[in-house]
Assembly symmetry: C2
């Protein structure tokens, strides 16, 4: 398909935050042209008048557990440990791979409504998670959740091989659940596997104060120091959450060129705390944003997350200038692309993959047009997302999904699964 978006404002994020006017041309899965109106020797399958609304790169949801949609509003108002042990783990034990397929499709729909064009997903069954993305047209980077009970090193190696050599919309990065759910043997084995594959590694890290003090009790050092001692990050990677993180921990992230994925809504809702984003940026660490799973957030809305990143940083540092809107957009797009290994999805430019969203500026929350980029972060909403394109395909437009299945069927299936699981 050749698609021409014309009469658009364009926030390409290719270098800076300048907004230009003109057109974006997509051929197949890639962007062919970004610039002023010009003559092209192309036959277009569709030409879309953007009516001076804004084209920009899609958001990267750099940490989530998509299939946890079934737990939305089921286990709220509980601290992380009882939330995990009393509610999440017992119900997850009943999940099948097929359940995870349907529950992931629901999450993908929600991503599309929020302008999210790819996710970094940690959950049990990569086969059906990948299938949900393939069937709907979405882009998914999966990561392992190695722990003492599920996922083995052999599985991680198999998945790494299988999912990095198939459809370009699917990839797999090594990962483990967390320090507190893994034996030292597991972590040593994973480090050896990472070295063998020359592969990056991701994990939950320093999410709660309890997790950090537990690690110090068990190993005498903080989680990042332990991972560094085990040489887990020799080929890069990074960590999710990083709320209770020391200066020395941050130095490890900076020295090894690791990414940190912040999850502000989840950290509030589980009372985990507020991550020191300004300090991370000051050290030059790549920061990305994730919604975390819908059981702990409970929604998958990047506009809410973006406002929280800047708002919480300002409150934490007692400095209204901390982590401004441009820094947040950078995290939401390029920071996520770096963490997820999606270097071809980081901006709108010829040759890049066509992960593009259209933002409706003709809504009261985007007026007046003092500063459009700031409007997106400070007053933007899912309501402004009128089109979401992944890999050159329009999957969501004007409230309608083009994902190969009717929303009503997804809702019916998910409610059926949820009722069965929570019965």
């Amino acid at each position: 398909m050749n698609i021409r978006f014309y009469n658009a404002r364009i926030l390409s994020m290719n270098g800076d935050f300048t907004i230009t006017t003109g057109e974006v041309i997509v051929c197949g899965d890639r962007i062919h042209y970004v610039g002023a109106p010009a003559a092209h020797n192309l036959i277009f399958d569709r030409e879309i008048d953007c009516e001076k609304n804004l084209l920009m790169p899609g958001f990267k949801n750099a940490h989530t557990h998509s299939a946890m949609t079934f737990l939305r509003s089921y286990a709220d108002d509980l601290p992380l440990s009882s939330w995990l042990n009393d509610k999440v783990f017992p119900l997850e034990a009943k999940l099948t791979a097929e359940h995870i397929y349907h529950l992931s499709v629901l999450a993908i729909m929600e991503y599309l409504t929020s302008g999210i064009t790819s996710n970094f997903d940690m959950y049990f069954t990569p086969e059906t998670i990948a299938q949900a993305a393939l069937d709907t047209g979405f882009r998914t980077v999966m990561t392992g959740a190695l722990n003492n009970f599920t996922h083995s090193l052999q599985e991680l190696e198999d998945w790494h091989d299988r999912f990095n050599n198939g459809d370009e919309r699917i990839s797999f990065i090594l990962g483990f659940h967390a320090e507190y759910t893994n034996s030292l043997e597991n972590l040593e084995g994973l480090a050896a596997l990472a070295h063998k594959l020359r592969a990056p590694v991701f994990t939950h890290c320093s999410e709660t104060a309890e997790e950090v003090s537990g690690c110090i009790e068990r190993h005498g050092i903080t989680p990042p120091a332990l991972f560094d001692r085990l040489d887990l990050f020799r080929y890069g990677g990074g960590a999710y959450h990083c709320v209770h993180i020391t200066e020395e921990d941050l130095d490890i992230f900076a020295a090894s060129n690791l990414s940190i994925v912040t999850n502000p809504a989840s950290n509030l809702k589980l009372a985990s705390g507020i991550a020191p984003i300004q300090r991370m940026l000051d050290k030059g660490i790549n920061v990305a944003i994730g919604t975390d799973g819908p059981a702990s957030n409970n929604c998958l809305d990047f506009f809410r997350e973006m406002f929280l990143v800047t708002g919480l940083a300002k409150a934490r540092e007692e400095d209204a200038a901390a982590v401004d809107a441009f820094a947040v957009l950078e995290m939401a797009v390029r920071g996520g692309a770096i963490a997820m290994g999606l270097s071809d999805c980081d901006c709108l430019a010829p040759g890049k993959l066509a992960d593009i969203i259209l933002i409706d500026l003709k809504q009261p929350n985007m007026q007046p047009l003092n500063n459009i980029a700031k409007n997106i972060v400070y007053s933007g909403s899912k309501q402004n997302v009128t089109l979401t394109m992944v890999n050159g395909r329009i999957l969501y437009e004007n409230g309608h999904f083009h994902i190969g299945i009717a929303p009503e069927q997804v809702y019916a299936k998910v409610n059926e699964i949820t009722q069965m699981l929570t019965r």
Copy 2:
């Protein structure tokens, strides 16, 4: 107009958070019936199939400065004092009453998209603020912004008389800007006026640490203690923000049956801090929610505010059980109605004014239906608001405004005003 909403889920908030199924019938400006389908001797102008979506009372935006829409994304990433003195005050000095009319209409449109059916508005020109509400069909409670430079006691008394004896959608409550912008003479005069009119009084209070320490320097006591000493709250009222508030301050609010209106997004963005909402609730104080003005937030989205109220309380108290979803809904609807003197807008019940919203549950963020009331607070979005009715009139439906003026005209006018002011 007689309007019948049928085939609905109903969260009446008339007593508890039970959700029933049935119909809501509106006759003129009031609710005639809420309950199971029944025969009615009425001719309906319209019958709306709710398709099992949720009817509930509209949200009350209990603190805002609507017309500050012109400053959206114009003055960001600055601390409150330089934000006010260097950006806000100089531009506000150029505003005319007519500007405020148009800028308020834009805000009203945004309220409608977020299910907000009334606002508690503090700004310069009550005449044109009221006119914006009257022309669009909105419900507005205005409050005075008495300070050393604008608004006089005589004006407050005139407005109190004029706006509390006209259209039922408009009312006026005495108010002053803040302690730090008023002389003692002003405050003593306002106390005398409140006593004469037997009227409640509202004000900005303890928004920043600097404001509180300044008050202590000037008067030897905190702002609430000063107001209490001046007997400003003899007939009730309350305060906005209340971020830096002592136990003794809260005891004053509790003893005098005052309301506190919390403004979480604004308090984050201006780095003012996080208000102690759980402590307010523990003392039995009525708490309401406000967006504050669009210059400091920068949006007028009650879903974002609702999540922030619970999320920030959980993080502040380090307790994931703090201020749960039901407490937040109570603040967003009944708490606001109490603060704003809108006792007929607090729930869906026969005889109450018809301020009603319809929430689309057939969106991915509202599925599965484990707990609909929690979904609204934890994963709800403006995108779910498909209909907003104020005083029996549908002002917003399926993305279209029915406010007597085309959105494009409002946007054009507001951009013209903004360009002129910021030039």
